[in-house]
């Protein structure tokens, strides 16, 4: 298997406000040692590896092949708290996730949440049954979000166009296969 180094990808990460701490990493592995997601995937999900691959510019592994799969991060922020070098790992992960979205490579649930927020202004829109329950509980009517303003923001950042890249099939990650083989 060939490994492609994408310098542009690497530089893009390092140049962004949330990627500047990346180069502090000395690969001690404290992040992976404390990571709950690594714990339950037998280390297949591995934050230390995501960081070194980001630093090396291995875009195909991180974005296309999802090895390791950055979307398995629980965002519990334990690694950020424990890192002796103050690498803001989850900020780097955010950047990798944002890069995946435009390529149609994020998990489907993210695209659906984005579309719901675009249409309704809320990740979870109000339903008639809940409106009745609110009245029954004696609390005020739910605040109505300013949907037009939300849509203007999402159009401004062009996220609406990225949301249209939603994959038809859920991309299968190696972790997923590994989990199935284990029967978990």
């Amino acid at each position: 298997m060939t490994t492609t180094i994408n310098f542009e990808f690497r530089n893009q990460i390092l140049a962004t406000h949330n990627g500047t701490t990346l180069s502090y990493c000395y690969q001690c592995g404290t992040c992976s040692g404390g990571c709950p997601s690594a714990q339950v995937t037998d280390g297949v999900y591995n934050p230390r590896k995501i960081i070194i691959q980001s630093l090396l510019g291995l875009q195909d592994k991180l974005i296309e092949k999802k090895t390791p799969n950055v979307w398995l991060c629980a965002t519990c922020q334990k690694c950020v708290e424990q890192c002796p070098q103050d690498v803001e790992l989850t900020e780097v992960f955010t950047l990798l996730k944002n890069m995946s979205v435009a390529r149609g490579l994020a998990p489907k649930a993210f695209y659906s949440q984005g579309k719901t927020i675009f249409a309704e202004g809320k990740a979870i829109p109000l339903q008639a049954a809940i409106a009745r329950r609110r009245a029954q509980l004696g609390i005020p009517e739910a605040v109505k979000p300013a949907v037009a303003e939300v849509q203007a923001i999402i159009k401004f950042t062009k996220l609406d166009q990225k949301l249209e890249t939603v994959p038809k099939e859920e991309p299968v990650s190696k972790e997923k296969v590994a989990n199935k083989e284990e029967g978990g």
């Binding site: 922020q77 927020i117 109000l126 609390i139 303003e149 939300v150």
Partner: protein, 302 residues
């Protein structure tokens, strides 16, 4: 009755999940906060915070701009915000952190907001309801205001990762306790008369953040958590976040089916237990709407 301090007039940010899916948690929060002397004002036009995992994962700048728009509502009203959700608190505090520490982002976001006639200044403070009650009322005043103590209830707590992490954003002054050991809810539940249960896995993540991608790893995490809870003798789990609530309540059906756990651990949000101790009835705050019903609590606090 304990009265909150001079800044007791607050804007309430319930968040999508509580407002539109778990309104009983909003009811308990409104009732308890009002009884403690807070005056709550709705944030007209507020949208999704938006979700620090979902929307931030999609596009960080959109996430910041939408969050900043929500903050401008409170800026205009010159009021600070009480949030009922760890995720919303994280988002809104992150907006303040990122935009106040990075002039480029501040300008970018304000350029976006200009297109809808708004401007972000960074003048509004955002507190989680648990932190607000702890700072502004405190365990001792709560103790003095208990009408129906939570006697004999064995309750363990799960503050949730985003309650205080990342600490440089959520808790820069270090007031919420060590990053891996917040105990605010434990201290306040003790003051309300509960038997607070310590357990090994109290800081283990609920795993909700992974479920948007896959559910397998999360179920394994929660199996570890619930085994630890049961071993320690907890009967109830008190949470501070609606995502943790949904995850830790919902996963129990699966864990029971797979014979990982043999008993239910009803999950309660902190203000539900607070409202009960302040004298509200279980029905009044909608405890019967829980998926895993706290039957004995419902009987004890009629």
């Amino acid at each position: 009755m304990a009265t909150a301090t001079s800044s007791s007039e607050k804007m309430l940010f319930p968040g999508c999940v509580i407002q539109n899916r778990l309104p009983y948690i909003e009811a308990a929060s409104r009732k308890a906060l009002t009884k403690l002397g807070y005056k709550l004002i709705d944030m007209e036009g507020a949208s999704c915070c938006p979700d620090p995992i979902g929307m931030q994962g999609l596009d960080q700048k959109t996430w910041l701009a939408m969050g900043a728009r929500n903050l401008t509502i409170a800026e205009t009203a010159k009021k600070s915000i009480i949030s009922l959700c760890n995720g919303c608190t994280e988002t809104l505090r992150s907006v303040n952190y990122f935009l106040n520490h990075n002039l480029h982002l501040y300008k970018d976001v304000n350029e976006i907001l200009k297109s809808i006639g708004k401007e972000y200044h960074g003048t509004v403070d955002v507190q989680h309801v648990v932190a607000a009650i702890y700072y502004e009322i405190g365990p001792e005043k709560l103790r003095a205001n208990v009408q129906k103590p939570l006697t004999r209830l064995k309750i363990a707590t799960h503050h949730g990762c985003h309650f205080n992490r990342p600490t440089h954003i959520i808790d820069p002054e270090g007031k919420l306790g060590p990053w891996d050991n917040p105990t605010m809810m434990d201290e306040m539940l003790d003051a309300l008369g509960a038997t607070v249960i310590d357990y090994d896995e109290r800081y283990l993540c609920c795993g909700y953040g992974i479920t948007l991608a896959e559910s397998g790893p999360t179920e394994k995490l929660d199996a570890i958590k619930f085994k630890s809870l049961i071993e320690a003798g907890a009967d109830y789990l008190c949470v501070a976040c609606p995502s943790c609530y949904l995850q830790l309540e919902g996963v129990q059906r699966i864990l029971r089916k797979n014979n990982v756990i043999e008993k239910d651990i009803p999950v309660l949000y902190f203000t539900e237990l607070l409202a009960l101790a302040l004298g509200f009835g279980a029905e009044e705050i909608g405890l019967n709407f829980h998926a895993v019903k706290p039957k004995e609590i419902i009987d004890q606090f009629k």
